[in-house]
Amino acid sequence: MRPVYMIGGGITKFAKAHHEKDFRLMVKEAYDYMLHDVPRLSKDMIDGAVGSYFSDHFTRQLKAASMVQDYLGLCPKPSKRVEGGGATGGLCFQSAWEAVASGRMNCCLAFGFETMSRVNTWKGNEFIALASDTNFDFPVGGFYSGYYAMMVQRHMYEFGTTVEQMAMVSVKNHANALHNPYAQKAKRLTIKQVRESPMVATPLTMEDICTMSDGAAVCVLASEELAGKVCDRPVKITGVGSGSDAMRMADRPHDTVILLPHEREADYHHLKYPGVHSFRGGRMAAKLAYEMADIRNPLEELSFVELHDAYTSSEIQTYEDLGLCRYGEGGRFVESGMPFLPGLDYGLELPEQGRLPVNPSGGLLACGHPVGATGLMQAVFAFWQLQGTIGTHLHSERLQVRNAKRGLIHSHAGTGTYITASILEAV
């Protein structure tokens, strides 16, 4: 495999609905933004594309990625669609990485979108719940917020995680997004407001859960030679990893923890793993990505993380899967202030504020979650962080992580069934 670089990215503003533009035009906007940002890159240098969108039910246009391919004028170059639930965007990113790493392409476009506004929120929830076993799970009351609620109830039982700790994630991500013009739902919240918002599935309230969105994002990945030719500040992709778990939560085993280099078996003497409280696929993804990028201690060696916070609870669970803290310590990790940005006022006491910012963009909770675009959106924010160009693209330096050297992006599908982790580094 040869080195792969990210050389450009673009995002549309994520919004509840973009009725004035269809999926083709949304991707075109993000694509044109990217081309404008990388003026030396021309269409003839792009060897092919990978498209991602999650749901044919939302789109009700099969082969929609083909329509994007022709709208962007990329026919007859190679193209395909990648789909993997909530991790669709992360998988798309890694598929483009594979195309370049293998030498099949020198330059590959990854584009993703979702148009969730085409149905009402509750029909949308029904569509999403079809990504659970339709014999045994969906008919019981198929509802993803309910599934994640059951997972965090068990996390609370095993580890003493509190709803206030979960609310702190919501406060953080919504406040970060106040400085991100691409975000759908930026706002200043208190722990009390998060807890007093309408209950969705105990213990998760409306402010613990991301919203449905329309939006698109693109990334361009290239070989070292092409990256050096067309991009002033390319970002190197130094690690990719992915993992999986059984579709039915009921089938998750009670086994032993998959250890990261900085952990020992004795850390988890009595922990039955993953159960329904942890994401084994996320741990596998992290382990593989860290091995490739030669990361021994992620808390020390990462500058920031953009992770899949569809729920405040899953952000806490993911701190643990990624080894930012030990299993069981995710609640205390957010309480310590480590995943907050330094220098921002959240209205909270945060003793170790800003040690490793998580979701400086605002994450899915505040940016929105147009599924096929989400994992690529994370890559674009990470790319701008590592280039040091957040100020240019977000029109404010507030979210720029100082001296950002290495970032992790994490994309996650239904209750942890597919998960990707990718490491990006400034060069």
């Binding site: 059951m150 599935a201 105990t202």
Partner: protein
């Protein structure tokens, strides 16, 4: 009679686009479980090679790949985890609030997703003993079984 097209907006032009379909959904190798529910039985599966026991059945073991055999689970278990849903997918909205539980059974290695009924949401806790109840008129769906607190038996 053609009732015409419903317009949701004119700038941009947004129309109603209706869609529905009936599938021929086969339970295939899972069929005995659903037949079992009509007889008041909760069937799990046991791996014929490694003895792993599935409380939600599958015809082949996901550990070793061997075929599994059907067996009757106990009708009592405990709440492994739970939630009360105040919203839901569109088809379930009219049933809210409802309580979902994962049930653990003595001797089984995996869990079973079901509804918990006849209980106040704030009385539900992890470890609560529960007992299976079966629909008198089966719908041949997994909802032909649900659970209630065992102390009400």
């Amino acid at each position: 009679m053609d009732k015409g097209t419903v317009l949701y907006g004119v700038d941009p032009l947004i129309i109603q686009d209706h869609y529905e379909i009936d599938y021929h959904h086969s339970y295939a190798q899972d069929s005995p479980f659903f037949i079992g529910l009509t007889k008041g039985q909760l069937l799990g599966s046991r791996c014929t090679a490694c003895d792993y026991i599935y409380a939600t059945p599958r015809a082949h073991c996901m550990r070793c790949g061997a075929a599994t055999a059907w067996f009757a689970l106990p009708l009592t278990g405990r709440v492994h985890t739970f939630t009360t849903c105040h919203y839901g997918g569109e088809v379930f909205l009219k049933e809210t609030p409802f309580t979902l539980i994962l049930v653990e059974f003595d001797g089984a290695d995996t869990l079973f997703l079901s509804r918990l009924k006849s209980v106040q949401p704030d009385a539900v806790r992890i470890g609560l003993p529960v007992v299976a109840r079966f629909a008198k008129a089966p719908s041949f769906k997994v909802t032909d079984v649900w659970f209630e607190p065992a102390d009400q038996a």
